[in-house]
């Protein structure tokens, strides 16, 4: 689910209004191909690599990267999905979406986990994700891939693989899908 649908669905119930298209579908695909190459380069292959898409915006990107890695290296990389709602530091401030279920393929101890998310913003989701991963073992390393890094970090977290750095205002909303990236705002 991309930011547009997320903000439109209960419990949010706003309307996403796009102001600008940042990337089109082809540019998104190229960025994912580049990120896939960088993942192989950084890890000298794909041994023990596990992709974990964050619910809900990161999951289609993780699937897509897995597909690209398969065509590049002829290796099936396991793909998991992680819901961090129960680990957030803003429980009670931010509504929680139902239907975001965690599914991690096996024990992560000794694996190289690549977290995949659509937008990196304050870094709080990633902090929660690092906390959540502890329940599934002790990974050898955790790396972070995001399609958009929009700045405004509130925690000491930086991405390892970035589709595009996009300077934004705090009141703007970035919508990422495989069909493109749009910058806009949510009207209530």
């Amino acid at each position: 689910m991309a930011e547009r649908e997320r903000r439109g669905a209960p419990p949010f119930g706003g309307v996403f209004v796009a102001r600008a298209q940042v990337l089109d579908a082809e540019q998104v695909h190229r960025a994912l191909v580049r990120i896939s190459h960088e993942i192989v380069e950084r890890n000298r292959g794909l041994d023990d690599v596990v992709l974990v898409g964050l619910q809900t915006g990161g999951t289609p990107l993780a699937d897509s990267i897995a597909g690209i890695l398969h065509s590049m290296e002829d290796t099936e990389v396991p793909v998991g999905v992680l819901d961090v709602a129960l680990y957030r530091d803003d429980i009670g401030i931010r509504p929680v979406l139902p239907q975001a279920v965690t599914d991690i393929p096996g024990d992560l101890t000794g694996r190289t986990v690549i977290l995949v998310d659509d937008v990196l913003y304050t870094g709080r989701t990633i902090r929660a994700a690092l906390d959540a991963l502890n329940a599934f073992g002790r990974p050898r390393s955790v790396q972070l891939a995001v399609m958009i890094d929009r700045g405004h970090r509130e925690l000491p977290i930086r991405p390892d693989f970035v589709g595009k750095n996009l300077p934004t205002r705090r009141d703007e909303v970035v919508d990422v899908t495989l069909d493109g990236v749009e910058l806009g705002e949510v009207l209530k």
């Binding site: 669905a9 209960p10 298209q21 990337l23 129960l86 009670g92 279920v101 599934f136 910058l183």
Partner: protein
Amino acid sequence: MSSTVELRAVDDRPADAPIGHAAAPALVSGQHLLGLDELGPAGIQQLLSHTDRFVEVNQRAIPKVPALRGKTVCTLFFEDSTRTKLSFETAAKRLSADTMSFSVSSSSVNKGESVRDTVETIQAMGVDAFVVRHSSSGVPWQITKWVNAETSVINGGDGWHSHPTQGLLDAYTICQARNGSAGDAASLAGVRIGLIGDVKHSRVARSDVQAFTALGAEVILIGPETLLPPSIVGWGIGNGTVEIGHDLDSLLPTLDVVALLRIQTERLGESLVPSAREYTSCYGITTKRLGLIRSDAIITHPGPMNRGVEVSVDVLDTHPGVVITKQVANGVAVRMAALFLLIGSGVDVL
């Protein structure tokens, strides 16, 4: 920003879709869970949909999440219970909440302390949610008048009135047995559920009927006239239907779900049924009747089971559709969802 800038408005939603908080969840922080009729079909679906994620948490090697750190849940049980009390306490602990427990036999209620004084005393120690069970209907509602504005009260069974989390976990278990999970729009549309036994005196039956009909099921209440309610007006909510039947043998083969109720042994002394053996021969699930239950049917029982009364001793160990232990396991997940939505999440602000 290097890309092209193109100004346009996108609103993919249907013209009649609610805007803003009209689409907000039915459960918000600081509210209570007293009965499923108050929660309504949308709230029931929402809670069941959240249950999926807690079922997954319970399957982990470390089934514990930090969602309710620093919150305190008190189980206030004025009536005996094994599974409901342990289930709520387990649910709270798996969400990292602290638990306090209270039971009448070891409390100052024996010295004559009233319910109100008891609640206010425990409240003063700092409690975010009370789980209340009482033999009188309406006590949980009454307690909502005495607690702080931000404290939630969850009904853990009151008199004949309601046992909402039991209704929710039964509905969840049936959805799970049929579809694997509740999904984002749990439905039992067209599913024929027979509720067999002492419907009249059962809070579980009332909550089950509400949960099942809210999801669109066809519910049939089956039992002797003395154990059926005089009227079923207002029993169902949502799109489901409720009817009454007496002839168990002809109804059993039509049922998708056989939902058994406990025969409360105290009822046997009230001349409502001639004897336990008479009840078993007319309405108990015996080896002979087990043959009438379809092999793809689901059999539920809320516990505690009276083996030899509503079921014969070993019958339930032989049918593939028996989900009684799954009900208990799902009970923890449903109660985690309820606690999380009531005292963790659910503030309808953006």
